[in-house]
């Protein structure tokens, strides 16, 4: 399919191959560069590998048929993830600009794609760093023994535990009450929670100090933030495998259920997970790759990073589920132990006469002989499968399920510190990419004076994001975050991703792109890349986009609240959103997506009405323009 849309003036907007060679040898100073290849790879791996690998993928894997989920995941990884990644790397390396610069160079009407990336990076960065603030809060609280989420506080007159805590669990209470102090509805804003504001401030200032000069500083930080999570995961794996019940968890995770492959939702979730997990369409990857040398092998990088990302997902799923298995076994043993105790007390049996193994047998016997006594006892059903499938995604996994597992391990504070440091590093390295995706386009857009140093741009971004992010420190902050997570980081990204692919292949031109890659890497991209770029990946993206859109629009918009007065407390209750939320949803999802056509129209009208000033677009090519007067004069 040799479709190519007309794109006049492209050669004037982009550096030619000769220009690139010249820039390569001369090392024009104003663009940052990577110190070495390892720094670049670690930064990209850090950006791609994030919290989603730890707390989204294991849940999807387990709920969509365990081992069988690997099949759609791997297929879509190869057909969707790797081609898109290669495309972003290649275009960034070729055009040597951030996202706005790249799309503006391809065609000024496409600047909207870059702006959409900027907006999405900004919105996602805002709420992602709030999650970092939560992680930091838990990290700060991990330096004590006993851990604060292992005990309920006493109530006002010290006669018992606080009711909310006694009815739910200590970890729930610590998360919903002492950390979030959550209200019962999104309308009920509550006030700013000062401890959360402090934690958010800490998160943003720490991010600022790492990103203050772009990749000069963040490039040093990634040596730690990208490698430490792997170390901690390994430590947890070893620790987890020595705990009782861990193998049950791993078995539960990987037990394949091939029927799930027939369910289209499985494929949709796999595709969405691949797309989001690669941090595509944020603009950060384009930026990072633009700092490479021109002849860097971006094809190899794309494949390598995709493999690393996929393997990390599977590895962290194994680790998480070994700990989940341990927790489930502990809870099962406790539950069963209570039942056994009730029986022993009721019938005065000697100790250890009933064990977990013969409990069922004994119960059936006793039910036949003394049914009335058995009825009177408060026996609970202990269901291992239920315990294994409990709330194991998102913040629920990290702050409720995993913390509960940690307090049951010996030397809990150590494991808590390690776990939260790992989550922190995972999130921080992703935030580097986000900040890159905001700051560089901001510089390219030339809204603010160019002479301002990069530190000011970064500082402004962090400051404004912090100020707006205070909404997440309200009592209803958790609900706002869920809203942002569902809408700001989903549909706009799919739209941008599709537009990126379409622009490069059909507006920039696949022929030109092939030649560029041949120039940069040394060989033309083979049939796999051609097929995926032109047909397969765009089709997959359209499918996912349409299905996602349809499911979002048709389902009732509800959110889960923590309400003490609810009937099923402590189970979260689903409540419908108030009607003004739809405006917010439109702002979050619609504005970045609509930025693309709106900006195209804006540019169109600008061109039309200012046609006489079009000479500005074509600078006169003279010799004197090429002489540089900054100390490197060539007389």
């Amino acid at each position: 399919m040799k479709l190519k849309l007309p794109n006049p003036g492209l050669d004037d907007r982009i550096p030619s191959h000769e220009d690139l060679e010249r820039m390569e040898t001369e090392e024009a100073g104003d663009r940052p560069k990577w110190d070495n290849k390892a720094q670049y790879l670690l930064t990209c791996v850090g950006f791609c590998v994030g919290l989603g690998n730890v707390w989204r993928f294991p849940y999807l894997c387990q709920s969509h048929g365990g081992g069988a989920f690997m099949i759609p995941f791997l297929i879509l990884l190869v057909l969707e993830g790797i081609p898109l990644l290669h495309l972003e790397f290649a275009i960034g390396q070729r055009l040597r600009k951030g996202s706005v610069g790249v799309w503006r160079a391809i065609n000024p009407y496409l600047t909207g794609v870059g702006i959409a990336s900027l907006l999405v990076s900004f919105l996602v960065g805002m709420y992602y760093n709030t999650i970092m603030a939560w992680i930091m809060w838990y990290l700060f609280n991990s330096f004590q023994d006993p851990l604060p989420w292992s005990q309920c506080p006493l109530n006002a007159n010290s006669t018992g535990l606080v009711a909310e805590c006694a009815r739910s669990t200590t970890v729930d209470y610590f998360w919903y009450r002492e950390t979030l102090n959550t209200s019962a509805a999104i309308d009920d804003a509550g006030g700013l929670q000062w401890w959360m504001v402090l934690a958010l401030f800490a998160a943003w200032t720490l991010l600022y100090v790492c990103c203050i000069r772009g990749i000069e500083t963040s490039g040093k930080a990634v040596y730690i933030t990208s490698t430490l999570p792997y170390l901690v995961l390994t430590i947890f794996l070893i620790r987890g495998l020595t705990l009782k019940g861990s193998t049950q968890g791993i078995k539960y995770l990987f037990t394949p259920d091939v029927d799930e492959l027939m369910n289209p939702q499985t494929w949709l979730d796999a595709g969405a997970q691949v797309f989001y997990s690669f941090s595509l369409a944020f603009g950060g990857l384009i930026s990072f790759s633009s700092y490479n040398s021109v002849h860097n092998n971006c094809e190899q990088d794309a494949v390598l990073i995709s493999i690393i990302n996929g393997c990390t997902s599977v590895y962290s799923a194994t680790v998480i589920y070994s700990i989940i298995g341990f927790r489930a076994t502990q809870k099962f043993d406790e539950c069963q132990g209570d039942n056994i105790l009730h029986l022993i007390n009721a019938f005065d049996y000697p100790e250890n006469s009933i064990t977990i193994d013969n409990y069922d047998q004994v119960l059936t016997n006793l039910n036949q002989t003394n049914p009335d006594i058995i009825q009177g006892l408060p026996l609970k059903t202990c269901d291992m499968q239920n315990l294994l499938s409990q709330g194991v995604e998102g913040t629920g996994l990290a702050f409720i399920v995993f913390t509960e597992a940690i307090i049951k391990m010996p030397v809990s504070p150590l494991w808590a510190v390690l776990f939260f440091i790992m989550l922190f590093c995972l999130g921080l390295s992703t935030m580097f990419g986000n900040i890159e995706g905001v700051v560089v386009p901001l510089q390219d857009l030339r809204i603010l004076p160019q002479t301002w140093p990069k530190e000011v741009f970064t500082g402004l971004t962090c400051l404004i994001s912090f100020a707006l992010g205070l909404i997440f420190t309200l009592r209803s902050g958790n609900y706002w975050l869920a809203l942002f997570d569902n809408f700001a980081g989903s549909i706009p990204l799919l739209v941008i991703g599709f537009c990126e692919m379409f622009s490069v292949i059909y507006i920039y031109g696949i022929d030109r792109f092939n030649k560029d890659i041949e120039f940069m890497v040394g060989h033309k991209p083979n049939i796999f890349w051609q097929a995926t770029w032109r047909v397969i990946s765009p089709l997959i993206m359209i499918f996912i986009l349409i299905f996602y859109f349809v499911t979002q629009v048709t389902k009732d918009l509800t959110y889960l609240v923590w309400d003490e007065e609810a009937a099923n407390f402590p189970v979260l209750e689903a409540r419908p959103y108030p009607s003004w939320i739809y405006v917010i949803i439109f702002i979050l999802a619609g504005i970045p997506s609509l930025a693309i056509p709106i900006f195209a129209l804006f540019k169109f009208f600008q061109r039309k009405c200012c046609k006489d000033k079009s000479y500005k677009d074509h600078p006169v090519d003279t010799i004197s323009a090429k002489i540089e007067m900054n100390g490197k004069a060539k007389f």
Binding site: D338, A346, Y349, P350, E455, A633
Partner: protein, 245 residues
């Protein structure tokens, strides 16, 4: 000071076989039976315990339950220790009344290390009322636990609830300390990173002021420095420096 708390401890340490066994003693409802007992018994030292409580006759009927050896090694000696500990508790509470081991009467021991007991005043057969015994046990609970190396969770007096230890709350929450450390490090980092280029620029300026040779590459070459490196074309030069008028 032990504060009273009506809170029942739910779970017991079942999953570890190393933990001492759950031992349960049941305190008799003495107060309501004092009249009946006084009617029933003459002052003798020997008690028929089965008349003391109206519990249902729960015997071990299921035959397929094994092991009559308790995990906690219960023996007559242990029972003696219990009686001694309780006598101590009574002495401690009543400030000197000389309770002896013989004043504590256990009865209806089951295989499960669970039994009732009554307490009589020293040298008499008057029963001590339940309230007093309860208060005595509450006061010396730790000592009784300690005698058996058990805890509130593993040694239960039915009806006497263990007191709740208030969670330790330090003056400064530990998280604020860690927060302070992190913020301090971050502030130092920001200041250092922001000041570094300024300091570098200042050093460079000083270096420039010191040696002017760095101007060599730019600007026009003057006679002192190197204008004479090239070939001097003397076509247009005069022998005399000053023009003849």
């Amino acid at each position: 000071m032990i504060a009273y708390a009506d809170f029942k401890i739910e779970s017991l340490a079942y999953f570890s076989k190393k933990m001492p066994n759950h031992v349960r003693w049941v305190l008799q409802q003495i107060k309501s039976r004092i009249e009946r007992l006084n009617a029933l018994f003459r002052p003798v030292m020997h008690y028929n315990c089965s008349a003391h409580h109206e519990g249902t006759n729960m015997t071990e009927e299921a035959s397929n339950i094994s092991s009559d050896t308790a995990a906690y090694p219960w023996s007559k000696n242990e029972m003696f220790l219990f009686r001694a500990a309780l006598a101590f508790a009574m002495r401690d509470y009543t400030n000197g009344e000389e309770f002896g081991v013989s004043d504590i009467h256990p009865c209806d021991e089951t295989k499960r290390v669970s039994f009732w007991f009554v307490v009589t005043r020293p040298n008499t057969t008057d029963l001590v009322d339940k309230g007093t015994v309860e208060m005595a046990i509450k006061k010396s609970r730790n000592r009784i636990n300690g005698a058996f190396l058990l805890t509130d969770q593993t040694l239960e007096f039915d009806g006497i609830y263990p007191t709740l230890a208030a969670p330790v709350s330090p003056d400064t929450p530990p998280w604020l300390i860690v927060f302070g450390v992190v913020m301090g490090a971050v502030s130092v980092g920001i200041i250092a990173l922001l000041a570094y280029p300024l300091v570098q620029r200042k050093l460079k300026k000083n270096k420039d002021a010191d040696d002017e040779d760095s101007d060599e590459e730019t600007g026009v070459k003057t006679a002192e420095i190197g204008a004479n490196d090239g070939i001097y074309n003397s076509t247009f030069s005069d022998d005399e420096r000053f023009t003849q008028m």
